[in-house]
Symmetry: C2
Subunit: 110 residues, 2 copies
DNA sequence: ATTTTTGTTAGCAATGTGACTAACTATCTT
DNA sequence: AAGATAGTTAGTCACATTGCTAACAAAAAT
């Protein structure tokens, strides 16, 4: 029962990592470009990148001394799917309750 | 920059808590009903419920000796929205790349 | 050939997380 | 009134997470 979702949500729980995702969403970037907006020390930041890469949310290749990072679609889609699925279930349930309420109202009217 | 998303994703990072959400999606349930499918000790399980409640994903009321839990829509919607937004951004980017690739192909053809 | 840039490795400290047991309270049931 | 049921509180423990600094390596620029 330990899905991909575990590590995905874990990865997204950190604001720094979400910010990296947001930045990467508009195109690939190098480590230092990604690091620039953040206050923390570079090694600390690298650990965040490692988490993203280990989860499969991000991939990177090193060319010369520059490592370029880019986003990977699959995990985001899976997680969004899970949430959408949950939402569908409880929304249909709410609809049923709503229908039930209407039926009761109609009974009153007749 | 420390949104609701922080605690939301943190809450969803645990399989036990996701299982609770899944169970709650099909209707409210008591603490022991929610606990039943899980091996862990009750106090441990209660902590998971507390996390869900603190995050606003779940709410509960106690009547007599039974505490009944039900799901709360807002945070799930917000998170799904964030993911959808991210996805839109990189999908449009991929579309652009695709269009670019086509243009290049067309240039070759002419 | 130096120096600068870009990233990496190693090791440490503080805090957070998820699990447990034991003991307890409050509410139904009998 | 006694016992069973449902949940709670308190205290402990191991491990993961997130931050740091210092020292290092490899590539590019001068």
């Amino acid at each position: 029962m330990t899905n991909q979702l575990d590590s995905f949500f874990g990865a997204m729980a950190d604001p720094t990592r979400r910010a990296v995702i947001e930045q990467l969403a508009s195109g690939p970037a190098s480590v230092s470009e990604l690091h620039a907006p953040h206050q923390m020390a570079l090694p600390t930041f690298m650990r965040h990148l490692k988490v993203l890469e280990d989860t499969g949310i991000m991939r990177s290749i090193k060319k010369g001394r520059v490592r370029t990072c880019h986003i990977e679609a699959a995990p985001l889609i899976e997680a969004q799917g899970w949430l959408a699925w949950q939402r569908e279930i409880w929304e249909s349930r709410l609809d049923n309750l709503d229908a039930l309420a209407h039926n009761i109202a109609n009974l009153k009217d007749t």
